[in-house]
C-alpha cells in the first residue's frame, strides 16, 4: 500500500521535519563550528581546538574517555546476560521485566541522579542505614566510582534494549541448526549467537558511550566540583567564563571523538555481518 500519491506530496509532508532539522540541528551545528574556528575578533584560528592539548583540558578529556569506556563496559557485562535470559523466556513474562528496566526512564534524569547524591552522601541514606546497623560507612560520593555508578545506572536501559532486541530476533531454529550440526552450547554461542547479536551490541555501545562521554550533569552532581569531565569544562566555558569560542572549539573535539566512534562501529558492523 502506498501512503502518499506521489513523491511530491511525500516531500511536502516531510517539510516540517526538514524545517525542524534545519532550525534545531543544522544551524546550531554551523554556529558551533563557526565559533570553534574563529577568535573573538572574528579571525580564523585553530587555537580553540588546539587548547584541548593544554594539560588541564587534556586531562579532563582523558578522564572522560576513560570513565565512558568503563561505564560502557560495565553496562555491556550487565546487559548481555540479562538480554540472553530475557530472550529465552516466554513472551508474557519478559515484557514485564523489560518494562521494569525502562521504568526509571519515565522519571527525570536529573532527579534520578540527584537521588543517588542523597543516597551516597557522607550522611546520606545508605550511610545512615549502615551506621544504624553498626556497619562501616562508605564514602564514594565525589569519586570517579560514583560517576561510573551514575552513568551505568542512567544509561543501562540503552544497552539492554538493543541487545535484548537483537537476541530476540535470532530464530530459535538457527540456534537449533548449530546444535544439530554438532556445535556444543559454547561453540554455538561464540559462532552464532554473539555474531548475530553484534548489531545490537554495537548500537548499545554507541548509545551508552556517547552520552557517557559528553555528560556533565552526572559528574557535577556525583563527582563534586573537583572531578571535571570534558563536558563540565565545556559547560564552564559557556555558562561561567562566557568564552563561546573556546567552548565551541572543545565541542568540536568531542564531536570528532563521537564521529570516530561511529566510524569504528560501522566498520565492525559490516565486518560482522557481511564479511
Amino acid at each position: 500500500m502506498k501512503l502518499f500519491k506521489s513523491n511530491k506530496s511525500a516531500g511536502l509532508m516531510a517539510s516540517p521535519y526538514i524545517a525542524w532539522a534545519l532550525i534545531f540541528i543544522v544551524i546550531p551545528l554551523c554556529m558551533v563550528i563557526y565559533y570553534g574556528i574563529t577568535s573573538a575578533d572574528g579571525n580564523l584560528t585553530i587555537e580553540n581546538i588546539a587548547t584541548i592539548f593544554k594539560p588541564g583540558f587534556f586531562k579532563a578529556l582523558k578522564r572522560s574517555v576513560f570513565l565512558a569506556l568503563i561505564s560502557t563496559f560495565v553496562c555491556f557485562i550487565l546487559s548481555y546476560p540479562l538480554g540472553m535470559i530475557l530472550s529465552s523466556m516466554k513472551l508474557k513474562k519478559n515484557a514485564y521485566i523489560v518494562t521494569l528496566f525502562i521504568l526509571p526512564m519515565w522519571m527525570n534524569f536529573l532527579l534520578r541522579t540527584l537521588t543517588w547524591m542523597t543516597l551516597l552522601e557522607k550522611k546520606g541514606v545508605i550511610n545512615t542505614i549502615f551506621e544504624f546497623m553498626h556497619l562501616p560507612t562508605i564514602s564514594i560520593i565525589n569519586t570517579q566510582g560514583a560517576i561510573v555508578l551514575g552513568m551505568v545506572y542512567n544509561f543501562l536501559p540503552f544497552m539492554i534494549l538493543p541487545i535484548y532486541n537483537s537476541l530476540n530476533r535470532i530464530d530459535e531454529n538457527v540456534i537449533n541448526a548449530a546444535r544439530d550440526l554438532g556445535a556444543d552450547s559454547l561453540q554455538t554461542f561464540w559462532r552464532i549467537t554473539l555474531p548475530l547479536s553484534m548489531p545490537g551490541i554495537l548500537s548499545g555501545i554507541t548509545m551508552v558511550f556517547i552520552p557517557a562521554l559528553t555528560t556533565f550533569a552526572i559528574s557535577s552532581m556525583l563527582g563534586g566540583s573537583k572531578i571535571l569531565l570534558i563536558g563540565n569544562v565545556i559547560e564552564q566555558e559557556f555558562t561561567q567564563l562566557y568564552d563561546w569560542h573556546l567552548g565551541s572549539g572543545l565541542s568540536i573535539v568531542l564531536m570528532i571523538f563521537i564521529f570516530i566512534n561511529m566510524i569504528i562501529e560501522n566498520l565492525a558492523d559490516k565486518g560482522g555481518v557481511n564479511k
Binding site: D180, G182, A183
Partner: protein
C-alpha cells in the same frame, strides 16, 4: 524392507497440560523415505524434534541403531535436520554455512573445501560459495540448508516442512530433487508435511498422524487405496465417505441401494464406513446406474471435470473426463474393487482419535 534404524517406543509428550503425543510407537527402516503426514497440531513436528533431540519426551525411548539416545543432546546425534524456513546463518557466506558442521569436527581445510564443492554440486548451486544467504531466493536457500546438513554424512536426514515456504512450481521441482538426492545419498529421510500430495509423491512409507496418534502407516498406494478410517480417507485426497451397512460378505448397502464389493469379514448387517474415491464413481445413463441422481454443480479442473451429484440424500463428489451438465439425470455405478469398507469407530475414544479436523 531394510532393518530398523530408529525406533520410537511409547513416546508421550505434553505442553502446558495439553497432550501432543500419546504412547507413540514407530519404526523407521534404513534407507527409506518416510513421511510424517497430518494436519497442524497432530504431533508430527514434535515427533521429528524428539528424534532430532530438540525436545525430550515425557515418557518413552528413542532407539537409534540399537542404542538408547533419548537423553543425548542434538550435537551428539548422527542425524541432521533441515529446518522450516531454512535457518541459515545469515552472518556467514554460503561456503561457511555448509562448512559449519565440518569445522566443528575439525576437518582439514582441503577436505572441507572439497566437501563444500561436492555438496553445492549435489544441490545444483555450483559457484555459490561466496554469496550471502540473504542474496538467494527461497528455493536456493532451501537447497543450501539441505547441502549444509548432508555434508556431515548423516545416517538420517530430518526435514521439517522444508518446502512449506516455496511457491507451487518450486515446490514440485524440489520434490523431485529431494527424491533424487535420497537415491544418490542412500540415507534415510524423515520428512514432515501437512501436504498429502507431497507425501504421496515422495515417500516410500507414509505415517498419517492426527491428535497425537498414528492413524495409519504404509506405502502411499496402500494409504490412498485402502484407508483404514474416515480420517485417513478424508485427509488423503478427496473422497466420498458414507455411513453404510454391511449386509454380508461382498455386499454392502449404501444409501438404500445394494452394491457389490470385495471385502469380507465385517459380519452381517453391521454398520461400516464406505470410502469411494471421486475418480472411481462412474456416471452412466440413469437406467444403468445402481442409484440415480442429478448433477448439481460442475467445475472444470483441467485434467478432469469435478461434479457434485445429489443422489439418495448424499452429495457425491465425482471426477470424470466426461462432462455431464448441471441438471442432467445420471446413474451412479461403482466397480466392486473401488469400494473400500472401513470399520466404524467402536468407542468414543476411537471416535475422538479419528475425528476429522
Amino acid at each position: 524392507m531394510g532393518k530398523d534404524l530408529i525406533t520410537l517406543e511409547h513416546i508421550s509428550k505434553s505442553y502446558d497440560g495439553q497432550l501432543i503425543l500419546d504412547d507413540l510407537n514407530l519404526s523407521i527402516y534404513e534407507n527409506s523415505f518416510v513421511t510424517l503426514l497430518g494436519p497442524s497440531g497432530c504431533g508430527k513436528t514434535t515427533t521429528l524434534r524428539i528424534i532430532g533431540g530438540f525436545e525430550m519426551p515425557d515418557q518413552g525411548r528413542v532407539i537409534f541403531h540399537g542404542q538408547d539416545i533419548t537423553k543425548l543432546s542434538p550435537n551428539k546425534r548422527q542425524l541432521n535436520t533441515v529446518f522450516q524456513k531454512y535457518a541459515l546463518f545469515t552472518h556467514m557466506t554460503i561456503a561457511e554455512n555448509i562448512a559449519f558442521g565440518l569445522k566443528i569436527k575439525n576437518k582439514s581445510a582441503s577436505y572441507i573445501k572439497d566437501k563444500v564443492k561436492y555438496a553445492l554440486k549435489l544441490v545444483n548451486l555450483e559457484g555459490f560459495e561466496n554469496r550471502m544467504p540473504d542474496s538467494l531466493s527461497g528455493g536456493q536457500q532451501q537447497r543450501i540448508a539441505i547441502a549444509r546438513a548432508i555434508v556431515n554424512e548423516p545416517k538420517v536426514l530430518l526435514l521439517d516442512e522444508p518446502l512449506g515456504a516455496l511457491d507451487l512450481k518450486m515446490r514440485q521441482d524440489m520434490q523431485y530433487e529431494l527424491k533424487r538426492l535420497k537415491e544418490e545419498l542412500g540415507i534415510t529421510f524423515i520428512f514432515v508435511t501437512h501436504d498429502q500430495e507431497e507425501a504421496l509423491t515422495m515417500s516410500d512409507h507414509i505415517v498419517v498422524m492426527n491428535q497425537g496418534y498414528i492413524q495409519q502407516e504404509g506405502s502411499p498406494e496402500k494409504i490412498y487405496n485402502e484407508p483404514e478410517n474416515a480420517f485417513v480417507a478424508d485427509f488423503i485426497g478427496d473422497s466420498n465417505i458414507i455411513r453404510s451397512t454391511m449386509i454380508r460378505d461382498e455386499l454392502v448397502e449404501i444409501l438404500g441401494a445394494k452394491f457389490a464389493c470385495v471385502d469380507k469379514g465385517f459380519g452381517e448387517n453391521k454398520p461400516v464406513d464406505v470410502v469411494i474415491r471421486p475418480e472411481d464413481v462412474e456416471l452412466v445413463a440413469p437406467e444403468n446406474g445402481t442409484i440415480k441422481g442429478i448433477v448439481t454443480d460442475l467445475t472444470f479442473k483441467g485434467v478432469h471435470y469435478e461434479m457434485d451429484v445429489q443422489a439418495n440424500g448424499y452429495e457425491w463428489l465425482v471426477h470424470s473426463t466426461k462432462l455431464s451438465p448441471v441438471g442432467s439425470k445420471v446413474g451412479i455405478k461403482v466397480d466392486p474393487f473401488n469400494i473400500q469398507i472401513m470399520n466404524v469407530p467402536a468407542s468414543m475414544d476411537e471416535e475422538a482419535i479419528s475425528e476429522t479436523v
